[in-house]
Symmetry: C2
Subunit: 327 residues, 2 copies
């Protein structure tokens, strides 16, 4: 499949993904452009897109040209889900800037998210337009399935909003849907965009799934991080919004009274502050990090089975960065 | 492309579209099923899907098997857009039943709509999985473009909410996006699912576009129809929600005072009732129907150029039904 594809270095490719996203957002009709500009300004770390191009690399660290477009499609899909998430969670900020829904209203944000979904599918068609490929059908089908999983993860999370009895199993199902599925797709499609057969690419998909779980576990730890006095980053934002994550689940298992504290019909800000301190004291955050470490070991075990030394090295360093990140 | 396709009669195919939609909605994971059941119960007239299978028919009125799946995909896309529209318009009912957003909340409705988008793309991949087809890429690209146009139509409509100065040109741009684009896609993709070359299928797309405009013009007339005393159907629902349509535009051109009546900072229900009666008196509805008639003539002119007598006859009767419908 990559016979007529051009190759570029991994770093160039990862940078090109940003350019491709910016280009897609910039080409939108005028009426949408202020919303899309707003999104373009707040491009994130593009971890998913980087994993896509990295997974396409050969032994010399050269990435597939096609992978850049697929990576941009993945990031746009991610962006679409963020825009819709912010509507669902009533979030005012995203990546440190006002969220679309707070800046342009929920109505426009719903449509902007839908529009991003179609930009994503347009990019996938563009990625394959120059090559006749029966993989293409699988690809669309893969993308649709993952959007389905993302939606299910969000709906499930929503279903368990303020459910202080949420258990580990259901928590993992939620993050498996809302986060791990897209990471898995990123690495699987990246690997497939090189000549790699389905069976081998599936291992990349599994590594991606682990990366996603670790990413979310660390995210959920970071939510409990910081000082109460700082203004920029509220501590325990998730908990206050009713999103129950692992630090709470662990802590509440040790001290079930935590549930009662927050189950009051109208829990006060004070109760949340008390609960957050308690959760940290009880080791909820530390335990979550331990679980992240276990998934890191699983991911490492799979990475070590890969034949390509370049990817072994780069994936390991990416994993370290995800695991060790402080924000 | 249809070499190995099976053929079934148009009536059987149109009925099979309903079955296919019900099947897709029924196969959803448990957590979504109450929402999907709710949607399955309220299947509409499936006009768009019927146009797809009809456009695929041969001279004997036999439709392409593949067209059934594509038609179902189109109806699911339509359904997705309705679910998101109801969030945007804050509508409590849809097709005479409670809307998803009123029954399950806006949060779940956003995700359910996203999920329907991906069911749509899954069905398209299913439609093509048994045939190697380079058309497939065009198809996804066509679907993405149309979703883009749908979104733009909605955003534009939203932008002109309570804009009593909306003119004919911008009104036509709105309905071109929100309604005509999907009708055009229905007929174009239906035609393409038979052996028809792109150039000829484009004529079907143009006919579909006219059908969509006529459909919306009649819809906008029907919104002003009926008695004030009946409870089920509020008259001038659109106007009360700030959606400006052609009957108002025509009437306000004759009597600009209408704009002032409704531009008050907090227009009363009374003002709307007065305005609605005025709009009817001033011939706003009648004029809109006249414009629908002009588009009907344009559509008929194109239908008469078709070579297939079966489709000529059926499309004409479909057009009559759309133009003459009373609800």
């Amino acid at each position: 499949m990559n016979n007529d594809g051009n190759k570029i270095s991994y770093e160039t490719a990862a940078e090109a993904v940003r350019g491709k996203i910016a280009e897609a957002l910039a080409q939108t009709p005028k009426i949408l452009s202020s919303m899309m500009d707003s999104l373009a300004m707040s491009q994130g770390k593009n971890i998913r897109g980087s994993l896509t191009v990295l997974s396409s690399c050969d032994a010399d660290g050269m990435a597939e040209d096609t992978a850049v477009k697929i990576a941009a499609a993945i990031e746009l899909l991610h962006l679409a889900s963020l825009v819709h998430d912010d509507i669902i969670d009533d979030s005012d900020t995203r990546r440190g800037l006002p969220s679309l829904q707070s800046k342009f209203g929920k109505k426009n944000a719903v449509m902007a998210g839908d529009y991003l979904f179609c930009l994503c599918f347009s990019l996938i068609s563009e990625a394959y337009s120059s090559r006749a490929s029966s993989d293409y059908i699988d690809k669309i089908s893969d993308f649709s399935k993952v959007i389905g999983l993302l939606c299910l993860g969000e709906i499930r999370q929503n279903e368990h909003n303020f459910d202080f009895d949420l258990d580990l199993k259901n928590y993992l199902r939620i993050i498996g849907g809302k986060t791990a599925s897209l990471f898995a797709l990123s690495m699987y499609t990246g690997a497939r965009s090189s000549d790699m057969p389905h069976d081998k690419a599936k291992i990349y998909g599994r590594i991606g799934g682990y990366f996603g779980i670790i990413f979310q576990l660390i995210d959920d730890c970071l939510d409990y991080d910081g000082e109460f006095s700082t203004v920029e980053k509220p501590i325990g934002k998730d908990l206050r919004e009713g999103i129950i994550t692992l630090p709470f689940i662990y802590a509440a298992r040790k001290e079930p009274a935590l549930k009662k504290l927050l189950s009051a019909s109208l829990p006060q800000e004070d109760s949340f502050d008390t609960a957050i301190l308690k959760i940290r004291e009880l080791g909820g955050v530390a335990h979550t990090k331990v679980l992240a470490g276990k998934y890191r070991a699983k991911a490492m075990k799979l990475i070590m089975t890969l034949e390509n030394d370049y990817k072994k090295k780069e994936l390991t360093s990416m994993l370290d960065r995800i695991y060790d990140r402080q924000k």
